[in-house]
């Protein structure tokens, strides 16, 4: 379970101060798929960074499975991210000069997974995104959709309990985007992984169990799973 309690994030100082997040609170049950919806510049990415421990809001709490991650030191936050979180970014951020295999292997190396267990995990992740045949290709030679699938493989390879996806389909055509969405939701359902998708695409958000609407750094509305299903 993720509990976000009254987090505030301000950019800049004194006169130029800008509240990108203003007293934001919500709760996400484990295994839920969540759509964070809002216009460009509303603070979606900032929120995701705060919840995933990449960024530190100046006030509030982010409690994940009972642990306030804002209280952890740098090393512990790094370890927390390496072990429990998978990231998918809007612009893929795959390492173009590394092979598909080594791209996927990176989170395993960071989490210090023993070498013997890596191959099997990498193969499983590539299998899940249907990229097994590209294992030894350089990432730069992949198509956009393949790159995003590679990013997903990298996000799931260490079996995280939370996956953050920032505009995962923003750079893809609608058919390919659809496939990526299917992949993510399928993984969410099969593994019971909490899936948090940042998007401004309402249709994508509507596929989620829960929708959090962000506007000007504030929560405009939270549609709980129950409400949505009705």
């Amino acid at each position: 379970m993720i509990e976000v309690k009254a987090i505030t994030k301000t950019y800049g100082k004194s006169k130029n101060a800008f509240k990108a997040l203003d007293n934001v609170s919500f709760t996400i049950p484990t295994g839920t798929s969540v759509g964070i919806l809002g216009r460009s510049g509303s603070g979606k990415s900032t929120l995701m960074h705060a919840v995933s421990g990449l960024d530190k809001p100046e006030s509030g709490e982010v409690i994940i499975d009972g642990q306030n991650i804002l209280e952890l030191n740098q090393k512990a936050v790094d370890q927390f991210r390496a072990r429990t979180i998978g990231f998918i970014f809007q612009s893929f951020f795959v390492q173009p000069n590394e092979t598909v295999e080594y791209n996927v292997s990176l989170p395993l190396e960071i989490a210090e997974v023993p070498t013997a267990r890596r191959t099997q995990k990498i193969d499983a992740a590539l299998e899940a995104v249907d990229l097994s045949d590209k294992k030894n290709s350089k990432a730069r030679n992949l198509s956009g959709g393949q790159k995003q699938r590679l990013a997903i493989a990298r996000a799931i390879v260490n079996e995280p309990s939370i996956i953050f996806a920032d505009e995962p389909t923003g750079n893809l055509d609608s058919t390919t985007g659809q496939k990526i969405e299917d992949l993510l939701f399928d993984y969410n359902r099969r593994k019971g992984v909490t899936l948090i998708i940042v998007t401004h695409d309402e249709e994508l958000a509507r596929r989620c169990d829960m929708i959090i609407n962000v506007k000007d750094g504030k929560i405009e509305s939270v549609k709980e799973p129950a409400e949505l299903k009705v």
Binding site: L54, A82, R83, F87, F89, S91, E98, Y102, L106, I110
Partner: protein, 456 residues
């Protein structure tokens, strides 16, 4: 992240920037090349010096002087004001005044326990030398035959080690044959050689001069003041072979010590230099450590050098020369350090996104820094390997030629490559490269992942 994984990633990322990696490491390679060659040349010179000393100097021998300045250790009146106290036992060479050993000193040294024999260093300048069957008069150096080392002979034979040649014997070097126009070396054996020396009659008093003038006129007086001459006749016992590692025999004729003494005393008779010696050579009893005898002698006021000291003296010179070359190589390395810093900074800037991603995925700043330091280390390794390999290949190729040009002789070589110093060199280059990579790596470690991921 485990070291091995970081090192592997560092290696792969270098391979992807081949040209840049190669160019950066070439700068190091220049330094490594120079260092490897200078290490090889140093080793070669030391081994050569070692051989040189071993084949010329009996390890049981001591070199004894009165004046430590002779060994370059100071203690004498170098130049100075030009005005220094007169010492009747001192000799002046150029600007330098040396205290000399007297006959009493020689006796005192002979009495020291452990000394088997002592031989003063006779320095005689002869007028000329004549060979049987030739009318030409030649100038030549005459030296004492050293019983410590037996030289190889071309013709004739020499006594065993520790034994002297007879008083009537003379040994001539192979090099003389050419000047003499002698083709068959054995024809020289048994031929007589006349060594002519002269002295100015400084002992002539004004009374003697007046007397001579009174009885024999101007001619008699002039004859008295004329330098006196004396001839010493020897028979050729052997012709020594030319050897690259033999120091003495190549340029002077050799006679027995007793003969050297006779000539020297004739030449210096009546002068201040009579029975005064710059130095003496002593042989220590077998089984006695020359160093202990040296200690005793130095306590008595005779600066002494053992064969080992002589060796270390030569080594010191080699080391200084080597140090100079190493200094230049170090400059090349300093230049390459800036190359590494520069390349790595650019690399950090180029890979901001990659760094951001790795940090977002939970890689610690320390591991990111390690990644960049290891890349630098790889560059250092590559540079060291290229440089030392190149030095080895080129050095091995030109070695015979250089060795010949320096006429070091058969079996010697100027460049001697050894594995361990090269390995140490490469490892140190890796360390230097890592130190150079420190600043860029710290920049990488400090990158804010969110900022880094925002850059498109």
């Amino acid at each position: 992240m485990k070291r091995i994984d970081i090192a592997a990633r560092a290696g792969r990322s270098l391979r992807q920037a081949k040209a840049r990696t190669l160019l950066t490491s070439l700068a190091i390679a220049v330094g490594a090349f120079t260092l490897t060659l200078s290490l090889a040349a140093g080793e070669g010179s030391r081994q050569y010096a070692d051989k040189l000393i071993a084949s010329n100097v009996d390890e049981q021998s001591l070199f004894i002087a009165k004046d430590a300045a002779l060994f370059g250790e100071g203690g004498s009146q170098f130049g100075g004001s030009g005005l220094s106290e007169y010492d009747p036992d001192a000799a002046t060479r150029g600007n330098v005044t040396f205290k000399q050993l007297t006959a009493a000193d020689i006796e005192a040294i002979r009495a020291v326990k452990g000394i088997k024999e002592i031989q003063p260093l006779y320095q005689v300048a002869i007028k000329y030398i004549k060979f049987e069957g030739k009318d030409t008069r030649y100038t030549s150096e005459v030296s004492t035959y050293g019983a410590g080392i037996v030289s190889e002979t071309l013709v004739g034979s020499l006594p065993g080690r520790g034994e002297q040649i007879a008083d009537g014997d003379i040994v001539i070097p192979e090099a003389y044959l050419e000047t003499l126009g002698v083709k068959d070396a054995s024809s020289m054996l048994g031929k007589s050689v006349a060594v002519t020396v002269g002295r100015t009659s400084s002992s002539v008093t004004s009374e003697q001069l007046a007397q001579a003038f009174a009885s024999g006129g101007v001619e008699a007086a002039a004859a008295l003041a004329q330098p006196e001459e004396k001839q010493f006749i020897y028979k050729v016992r052997a012709v020594t072979k030319q050897s690259a590692t033999a120091l003495a025999s190549s340029s002077s004729v050799l006679i027995a010590p007793s003969q050297m003494k006779a000539i020297s005393e004739f030449v210096t008779q009546g002068t201040a230099g009579f029975q005064k010696y710059m130095a003496a050579t002593a042989i220590v009893n077998d089984g006695t450590d020359p160093a202990t005898v040296k200690a005793v002698l130095e306590q008595k006021g005779y600066p002494t050098q053992t064969a080992k000291d002589l060796q270390s003296l030569i080594f010191t010179i080699v080391n200084i020369l080597q140090g100079i070359v190493i200094g230049f190589a170090a400059l090349a390395l300093i230049a390459s350090v800036f190359g590494i810093i520069n390349t790595q900074y650019i690399s950090v800037l180029e890979r901001t996104q990659q760094i951001g991603l790795m940090k977002a995925l939970g890689m610690s700043g320390r591991d990111i820094a390690k990644l960049f330091r290891y890349e630098a280390a790889w560059i250092g390794f590559l540079g060291g390997l290229i440089g030392s390999l190149l030095a080895f290949v080129i050095g091995t190729a030109v070695n015979p030629w250089v060795t010949e040009q320096l006429s070091l002789g058969e079996g010697n070589s100027l460049l001697i490559f050894q594995l361990i110093p090269i390995v140490i060199l490469i490892v140190s280059l890796m360390v230097i490269a890592m130190v150079a990579g420190y600043f860029p790596s710290r920049k990488a470690a400090k990158l804010d992942p969110i900022e880094a991921l925002r850059t498109e």
